[in-house]
């Protein structure tokens, strides 16, 4: 009842198109992959399922980034850290599922621990053989880190580029830490060689198709949650904070709490995205923490259109599609293209593809409507 009201009142036309298309993909892709024989022109190849599944998790990450950047004006250069932490939580579960099938055939310890001559599971790993616990951690670890970090940062009113720089330092520090063997997360090599998830073989095409569908569902859920937030009154305040933070304060809103809320929600979303990403790509290693990854996620949002949730997801899909294509066709060219994209989008397409398109559509539809102002902030004196 609440939900249907929500769906009909707060989801705009673009959102509906987005949800319906995703819903269709969630059903159709696995069917076309599993039920249609490989020779048929309707067959979806295994690689495509894996690739698109990955894009879905990226899209979820993009929505998470957009929530804080597009709506709250917090440019996080460290969202990759939350993504990776969620991924590691999932990876740890998958590692423990290997059991005695590792190279060293140790009954409980993952291979890399046997290799390091460890005799028992470190405390951080306790409980990760339980799926529910691992899933809790997927949300809790990034969420908690974000909460603590945000609690300090927002209360001390660290904003703008300063915040961006320290988020970058955060993910960089985590990367260095996870590279260390004695951290107990597999060092350089990270976690890999997974065997199965919840008893299903992780390599089997059925499992992979299900993982794809789950990623789509997670993306839909993420979109709905984000949409619910930004269309609520709290969402209006969050946008107000983006545009005139001091003014919001003088109205009596606790800016730091609002920021902390979206920041934490966004981190949890990123963590879930990471958790879905890992079983599909089959590996998680410290390079996921690298600052470049986080910045790349920003460009997805910038390309798609920040401040438009659908745009962010779209941007993630487009940029990554381009990346796959480039790395196949001109491996040398990708970084040129990505760099160029950063420059061109910020210079010529500040609203991104979807934002620009919507503007154009609106202007075409009703010329009477006033043009929208730029989101430049008007600081309170």
């Amino acid at each position: 009842m609440m939900l249907t009201r929500f769906l009909f009142e707060r989801i705009d036309r673009g959102g509906w198109v987005f949800l319906v298309l995703l819903g269709i993909a969630a059903v159709l892709v696995p069917v076309l992959n599993l039920a249609v024989p490989p020779g048929s022109m309707f067959h979806v190849s295994n690689t495509a399922v894996g690739l698109w599944g990955k894009y879905m998790t990226y899209a979820l990450l993009a929505i998470a980034v957009d929530l804080v950047w597009g709506y709250c004006g917090i440019l996080s250069l460290g969202h990759g850290a939350f993504f990776a932490l969620g991924g590691y939580a999932m990876g740890m579960y998958l590692m423990l599922q290997i059991g005695p099938r590792g190279v060293y055939a140790h009954p409980t310890l993952p291979d890399f621990m046997v290799f390091l001559n460890w005799t028992e599971l470190p405390v951080a790993w306790w409980g990760f053989s339980s799926f529910p616990y691992a899933m809790l951690m997927v949300a809790l670890v990034p969420g908690l880190l974000a909460f603590v970090f945000g609690w300090f940062a927002f209360r001390s009113r660290v904003t703008g580029v300063y915040l961006s720089i320290i988020t970058q330092a955060l993910t960089y520090a985590l990367m260095l830490a996870f590279f260390r063997n004695d951290m107990g997360f597999g060092g350089n090599n990270g976690l890999t060689d997974f065997k199965d998830i919840l008893g299903f073989n992780i390599q089997s095409q059925t499992t992979r198709a299900v993982l794809f569908s789950l990623s789509v569902l997670a993306l839909m859920a993420g979109y709905l949650v984000a949409r619910a937030i930004v269309t609520s009154k709290a969402g209006k305040i969050i946008i107000a904070i983006r545009d005139a933070e001091p003014r919001t304060r003088f109205l009596g809103y606790r800016v730091e709490n609002f920021k902390l809320f979206v920041w934490t929600v966004s981190a949890v979303m990123a963590g879930i995205a990471g958790a879905l990403y890992v079983p599909q790509v089959g590996i998680i290693n410290p390079s996921e923490f690298s600052p470049a990854n986080s910045i790349e996620a920003i460009v997805w949002v910038a390309v798609g259109g920040r401040g438009t949730l659908v745009g962010a997801a779209l941007g993630a899909g487009l940029v990554n599609f381009a990346k796959s294509w480039f790395t196949g066709a001109f491996p040398q060219g990708w970084l040129f293209a990505l760099g160029g994209l950063f420059i061109l989008v910020t210079l010529f397409l500040p609203k991104g593809i979807l934002g620009t398109f919507t503007d154009w559509w609106k202007r075409r539809g009703e010329t009477r409507k006033p043009p929208t102002a730029s989101p430049a902030s008007q600081p309170a004196e």
């Binding site: 440019l75 970090f149 300090f152 940062a153 209360r155 001390s156 009113r157 660290v158 904003t159 703008g160 580029v161 300063y162 961006s164 720089i165 320290i166 970058q168 330092a169 955060l170 960089y172 520090a173 260095l176 830490a177 590279f179 260390r180 600052p291 470049a292 910045i295 920003i298 460009v299 910038a302 040398q332 970084l335 040129f336 990505l338 760099g339 160029g340 994209l341 950063f342 420059i343 989008v345 910020t346 210079l347 500040p350 430049a376 600081p379």
Partner: protein
């Protein structure tokens, strides 16, 4: 004593050889002036000694003769005798013995050395012997070998090469072999290099301390000498006294060890500070350009690291060109690379400012993204041009080597970078404070519109300020090419650190940048021994993250309305 006498005889016999010239050594390597003065000094000593107790060449003949025997004991005696005699040909004789090339003629027991080409020379004179008849080798057993080893050590104490003498003294210090004492005494007597003499005295002290037969007072006095030496080896020496050592000596050794540890800790702290300052200088160089673009202009230039990288590659290209065109200039290549790097990086910086950043003033987050894009493009461009692997940059000879001050090792390249960083910093400070351009820069950054109204061409000031920041990054690149790998990723390694420095120091304040760079550098070096390099760095990052929460505008924050 014999050794001194012998060199005196050398002078007397008219051969101008260095005084401490031991037997058979090729002493020509030493500079003439030094040889001359040493010889004169030795002659003086020799005159006195000749009066006191003349030793003649016949003594040496007798000593050498003693090798012509079948008795191992006699041979050991001969080795010991020869080693402490200071005979000029002691070294070749003993070496020959060690290699089994010492022989004697059965008929008259004259001793010869068989050379590798199987010709023979007289052991005593070193002159070739044409026809020698049947010979027998001088025999070797373990006792003889041990005697030889000791003798070689003793002989090295008299070697003309100061490095050899120094290492021989060090060897004795470590072995504390009592049998080396006579040789050591002899060597001390004629050593002219105060540094080596000190080493030898320390070695003698070590022998005395370790000698249970020595008088307690002597041993305690010797401990004093060792304490003055004050390094790890001294500490090891004092710690290795056996349990049977008399309590008084033990006590002295213990208190000396405590003293050494204390001074060593101070020296170690000093060394850490030194390393920290040198790391701080690197950070300063990398960050100072950023302090201008970010601090003065408020532009977040994520491509700053790539400007550094371009500076390093400019160095590579300059050196490559010099190698082809004028190899003789290699030692000054860095001085050619510096202006080149400044210009190249500065020009690229100006281009970036004109083409991109200019459109994004007042939108720091967008600037950040666009310049990140620039950094990707620049990296990939360099990768495509120069390849993804490290490029070799030559270090000029004046930048290698090191000097020692007390227990501080100061390497030339660190010193050079520190000095360079100071020069860059000071020049920049003067430039911004004292020149019209600096004034205009500050005017524009404080009030763009007003400055424009007063006729300052704000566009150009912006472009040149950005160019200046980038050019300085290029200079940093030249310096970093000397200590880091020149690869397309060079800049990436420094960008985060540079931002940390600028943010920690407080934006818009060059002094803050200096203090921050030095603080972080030194803190890093003090953390490293405890936490390891990586963990130390993580700790520092976490520290800065926390620090920014407390003081969001850094150590030296500007206050007031202007900054909001």
């Amino acid at each position: 004593m014999n050794a001194s006498t012998r060199s005196g005889l050398d002078i007397g016999s008219g051969t101008l050889r260095p005084c401490s010239h031991p037997p058979g050594a090729r002493g020509q390597g030493i500079g003439h002036v030094r040889a001359l003065s040493a010889a004169l000094a030795a002659a003086l000593v020799a005159c006195l000694l000749i009066l006191a107790g003349p030793a003649r060449a016949q003594d040496h003949a007798a000593l050498v003769q003693r090798f012509a025997t079948e008795s191992f004991n006699d041979i050991v005696g001969a080795v010991n005798g020869l080693a402490t005699s200071g005979a000029p040909r002691a070294a070749p004789i003993i070496e020959a013995l060690r290699d089994g090339r010492l022989v004697y003629r059965a008929s008259d027991r004259a001793v010869f050395i068989r050379r590798p080409d199987n010709s023979f020379v007289s052991a005593l004179s070193g002159e070739p012997a044409a026809e020698i008849g049947t010979t027998r080798p001088v025999r070797l057993n373990n006792n003889v070998r041990r005697a030889i080893d000791a003798a070689v050590g003793a002989l090295s104490l008299l070697h003309p090469d100061p490095a050899r003498r120094a290492s021989a003294a060090e060897a004795v210090f470590k072995s504390r072999d009592g049998s080396a004492l006579p040789a050591l005494e002899a060597a001390i007597g004629q050593e002219r290099d105060p540094r080596i003499k000190k080493l030898m005295e320390e070695a003698r002290a070590a022998v005395v301390v370790a000698n249970p037969q020595a008088a307690e007072a002597d041993r305690i006095a010797a401990i004093g000498i060792i304490q003055r030496r004050g390094d790890q080896d001294a500490l090891a020496m004092l710690g290795s006294l056996p349990a049977t050592t008399p309590p008084l000596v033990r006590e002295a050794a213990e208190s000396a060890a405590v003293g050494i540890r204390r001074t060593l800790a101070v020296w170690e702290a000093g060394q850490n500070v030194w390393h920290g300052i040198s790391l701080g200088s690197v950070l300063l160089l990398a960050a100072i350009g950023l302090a201008i673009t970010f601090g003065v202009m408020g532009v977040i230039n994520m491509a700053h690291g790539e400007m550094v990288m371009i500076g390093a590659y400019t160095t590579f290209v300059v050196q490559q060109t010099i190698r082809v065109l004028a190899p003789g200039l290699m030692d000054v290549s860095l001085f050619i690379a510096l202006p080149m790097a400044f210009l190249v990086a500065g020009a690229i910086g100006i281009a970036i400012e004109r083409l991109i950043i200019r459109h994004l003033y007042g939108r720091p987050l967008e600037t950040l993204l666009a310049t990140w894009g620039v950094s990707l493009v620049l990296q990939q461009a360099v990768r495509t041009w120069f390849g993804p692997t490290n490029r070799e940059v030559t270090t000029p000879s004046w930048m290698s080597g090191s000097i020692e001050i007390g227990h501080l090792a100061i390497t030339a390249n660190r010193l050079a970078i520190i000095i360079f960083a100071i020069i860059v910093f000071a020049t920049l400070l003067l430039f911004l404070k004292r020149t019209p351009f600096g004034l205009q820069t500050r005017a524009v950054t404080q009030n763009r519109r007003m400055a424009g109204a007063m006729g300052i061409r704000t566009n150009w000031v912006d472009a040149f300020t950005f160019g200046l920041g980038s050019g300085i990054a290029g200079l940093a690149g030249v310096a970093l090419s000397q200590i880091d790998n020149v690869s397309p990723n060079l800049g990436q390694a420094y960008i985060i650190d540079s931002f940390m420095v600028v943010v920690f120091g407080g934006v818009g304040n060059l002094w803050g940048t200096l203090v921050a760079a030095m603080t972080l550098g030194i803190a890093n070096k003090f953390l490293e021994p405890y936490a390891g390099a990586v963990l130390g760095k993580i700790l520092l990052l976490v520290f800065i993250i926390l620090f920014i929460q407390k003081r969001p505008r850094g150590l030296f924050a500007l206050k007031g309305r202007a900054v909001e």
